[in-house]
Each structure stands twice: as C-alpha cells, then as structure tokens.
C-alpha cells in the first residue's frame, strides 16, 4: 500500500507540532531567565545580552533553528486548523463542547494567532533593530554613544509606552491559555503521557503556564513603573 511520508501523516504532523511546541517552551524559559536579569542587575543583563547577540553558535545555529521552529509551528498550526474544519462540512445546529472539553483546548488557533500578532510586534521592536544595528550597520560593539552597553536602556525604553505594556500583558495572558493546554498536550502527542503521569503533567503544565507568562508580565510592569517616569 502506498503510504504517506511521516510528515504528511496525521500522527507525524501531531508529533512535529508537539516537538516545535516543546522547543518553543524551552526557549521561553531561557528568554525569561535572561530578561529577569534586567530586573536584578542591569550589568549582568548587558553582559549576557552581548554574549547572546554576538556568539556565533547562538546567532548562526540556535537563532535560525528558533526562527524555523516558530515558522513551522504557526504554519502547521494554521494548516491543521483549516484541514480539521474541513473534516466536518455541516456543523451541528446545537453543539455543547463545554460539556466535554476546555476552552483552552478548543481555541489553540485563537490564542496562537494572538501570540503570532505579538511576535510581529516583538520582531519589529527588538529583532529588526538588532539585525540592522549589527549586520547592516556593522556595529557589533553593543555600545551606545557614551560607550556603555545599550541593551538595558533600549529594553527599558520600550516599556515607557503604556500601550505597549498593555499589548504585552494581554498577549502573555493568551500565551498562558495556550500553554495551559499545550504543555500536557505536547507530551500526549509524542506518546509520553500515561495514566500514571497524567495528573502530574497537567499540574506541572498549569504551573509552567502561569509562572512563565507571569514572569514576563512582571518584567514589563517593573520597568514601566520604575523607569517609566523619565
């Protein structure tokens, strides 16, 4: 029997979706750790930012993998949603999905698309600026006009605008909802969830889904209220 390639089978897609999601969650954890430094010690934040921004392994290996994972995740997520909608042509006149599943699990595409819109803004805010500075203008020093590292001040400046902070917070609430389902779901997709670890996975997933976005929100609010005045 002629069979589809792994990435074109239903389970293959599920597994790849989960692997990209798991990778993105690891990335979030790393990103949060570094951002936390901006609250604890601006100097440390500058050092680490400079390292991440200039280290060739980070820049030319990890960064492309990250971008590929993000693109794969949202393109596949959107494609799957379209295909899944087509699998039921006539909808029910009366449906009661709340009786058997959570809002988070049914609306991954909505929470995902909001995150995607946020990522657009985020790229515009930080990434495009970094690329222009480093690779187009060729200034790899990471220094400002006064000869100090520019990363911390650039970060803080972004959070002066209250609207940006609000958009930031809303997006992270939606990320929390995405992960509340996504965390345990990813383990189920790769076949790692069992009757024994199911409850623990969901509990840990709930903690992860709360703590990580809450951390990012805390950082945004911290900078807005401590440095927002100038």
């Amino acid at each position: 029997m002629a069979k589809n390639a792994f990435r074109k089978t239903s389970i293959g897609r599920k597994v790849l979706m989960a692997l990209s999601g798991l990778f993105l969650m690891l990335f979030l954890l790393q990103h949060l750790t570094i951002n936390m430094l901006s609250v604890i010690s601006p100097d440390m934040f500058n050092e680490v930012s400079h390292f991440m921004g200039t280290n060739p392994i980070v820049q030319f290996l990890l960064q492309p993998i990250l971008i590929a994972a993000i693109i794969f995740h949202f393109v596949m997520g959107i494609a799957l949603d379209i295909m899944n909608n087509k699998a039921r042509e006539v909808k029910y006149a009366y449906n009661k999905p709340s009786a058997n599943s959570t809002w988070m699990s049914r609306n991954m595409i909505i929470t995902g698309l909001v995150i995607l819109a946020f990522l657009g803004l985020h790229f515009y805010d930080f990434w495009i600026h970094e690329i222009t500075e480093k690779y187009i203008e060729g200034d790899m020093s990471g220094l400002n006009a006064q000869g100090e590292f520019r990363y911390h001040e650039e970060l803080v400046e972004k959070f002066v605008d209250i609207w940006r902070v609000i958009i930031y917070c809303i997006s992270f609430v939606l990320l929390a909802l995405h992960l509340q389902h996504g965390f345990a779901s990813a383990f189920q997709s790769v076949g790692a969830r069992t009757g024994k670890n199911k409850t623990a996975l969901q509990k840990f997933g709930n903690i992860f889904a709360f703590v990580v976005p809450a951390g990012f929100i805390f950082i945004a609010l911290f900078h807005h209220f401590t440095h927002g005045a100038h």
Binding site: M1, K3, N4, F6, T9, S10, I11, G12, R13, K14, V15, L80, M83, N84, K86, A87, R88, E89, V90, K91, Y92, A93, Y94, N95, K96, P97, A99, N100, S101, T102, S105, R106, M108, H181, A184, S185, Q188, S189, V190, G191, A192, R193, T194, G195, K198
Partner: protein, 247 residues
C-alpha cells in the same frame, strides 16, 4: 412528560436536509431514548408521514449501532451510556430536545439520522486483526502468560463498540480514539507483536485516507465515549506509530 423534538430530516445522501419540529406527549421517564423515538414514529406512521430513520440493533449498549447527537452531545447528556441506554428521566417535562446525526465528512448521511460508518470497517480491514493459523493445532491462548495489568488494559481497549461517538464529539472529527483502541487491544498482547508494525502504519494510513481530522488532544472523545476508552490509548498508538516509522 411532553416534549418538543427538533430532528434533522434528510431524504437521502444528496438531499439538503433541515431541522423539523415534532411534539410527543405522555412519554414515560422509564423509556429509553430510542423507545421515545419509536413512539414518535408510530405517530408519524398513523398520520401517513415518513417515520424518522435512526440506527439501532441490540438496544443494550453492546453493538455500537445506535448513534445520535442529542442536545449537543453524542449519545446525549448521560455519561458511559449509548443512546439506547439513555433514559428519558435525564430530561424534564416541557424540554426541547435537539436530535442530529453524528456529523463528519467521513460519516456521510444515508437518511435522516442514519450515517454511513463503514470507514471504521475499512480501517479495521487495514490491520485490526491478528493472523491465526487454523491448521488444527492452534495453541490455547491461555498458554501464553500475560501480565494482569496488560491483559486488563487490552480488554478495556477491546470494549470499544465502534459507535463513532468519539468522531462525532471531536471538534476535528478525528477518529484517533477509535483507531487507538483497535491498535491497543493488540499492541498490549504478545499475540499482537508479529504484525504490530504494519498494523499501526496501515490503520493510521487508512484513517487519514478516510478524511477524518487530526487530533488536538481536547479530550472530548474520552468524555463522550460510552465505553470510557481512555486517551492513554491514543498516546500508546502515537508511540507505536513512532516506533514503526523509525524502524
């Protein structure tokens, strides 16, 4: 009790179909849901109208023939039962009840509330079996020791009656709960090992060809399944599929 029924009527596979209102009265709360529909059909036949077509056979929750999406849930509001086991005491006098067919592209409507679930049969044919030599010296199955836990889980998976409630409840019309039950009932037993690789690959391939959607782990199927088939089976099928794809 007296009820208003909103029922999907569709003359044939190609007909447009629509929801039609009916009234039934003096329904006993001890009746099963299908008996209530029998009462409606008697009324319709007496009036010279076409009775409502719906699937049923054993009427005791073992054949998997009955279906129906009742008030937004497969097999109605009760848990762990099929529509034939659903009692009218789950409803109140004066209620309006929506009755629709199980909907999925892979389950085309034949007439009214009856749908064609032969896609499930084709998935079974693709690998849901063990080849047993019937030469006359077949080994007694009990001669092979099997851990109790595995035997129990295989048995639990084997209680799937192939009703399709999982597909009907899933927002993606995914058949993964059904297929995973059929994969698991063999994957857990030594007799199933020889054909394990081809089984999972062929059954998943057939499932994809039939046009079912892709699982997003919402878990609606597990809640609505009349036999309590667990999501654990889907995780097991994913593992089996991964193993089979890598080797």
């Amino acid at each position: 009790m007296n009820l208003t029924l909103k029922i999907w009527r569709q003359k044939g596979p190609k007909d447009q179909g629509k929801m039609v209102d009916y009234k039934v009265s003096d329904i006993s709360e001890h009746m099963s849901f299908l008996e209530m529909l029998d009462v409606l059909n008697e009324q319709l036949i007496e009036k010279g109208e076409e009775p409502v077509a719906f699937d049923h056979d054993c009427r005791e929750g073992i054949c998997g023939m009955c279906s129906l999406y009742i008030n937004g849930e497969a097999h109605g509001p009760d848990r762990g039962v099929t529509t034939c086991q659903l009692h009218m005491r789950m409803f109140n006098d004066g209620d309006t009840i929506y009755i629709e067919p199980f909907r999925a592209k892979a389950f085309p409507i034949i007439k009214d509330l009856t749908v064609d679930r032969s896609a499930f049969d084709r998935i079974q044919h693709a690998g849901g079996y063990v080849s047993v030599n019937t030469s006359g010296n077949t080994q007694d199955a009990n001669a092979i020791p099997i851990p109790k836990d595995d035997a129990d889980k295989a048995f639990d998976a084997a209680t799937c009656i192939g009703c399709g409630a999982c597909v009907a409840s899933c927002k993606n019309s995914s058949a993964m709960l059904y297929v995973s039950a059929k994969v698991s009932q063999f994957a857990l037993l030594p007799q199933g090992q020889i054909e394990a690789k081809d089984r999972v690959l062929n059954m998943v391939n057939q499932m994809d060809l039939e046009g079912f959607g892709n699982c997003t782990n919402t878990g609606a199927c597990e809640v609505e399944c009349p036999k309590g088939i667990s999501l654990e089976n889907i995780a097991r099928m994913n593992r089996e599929f991964l193993k089979a794809s890598i080797k």
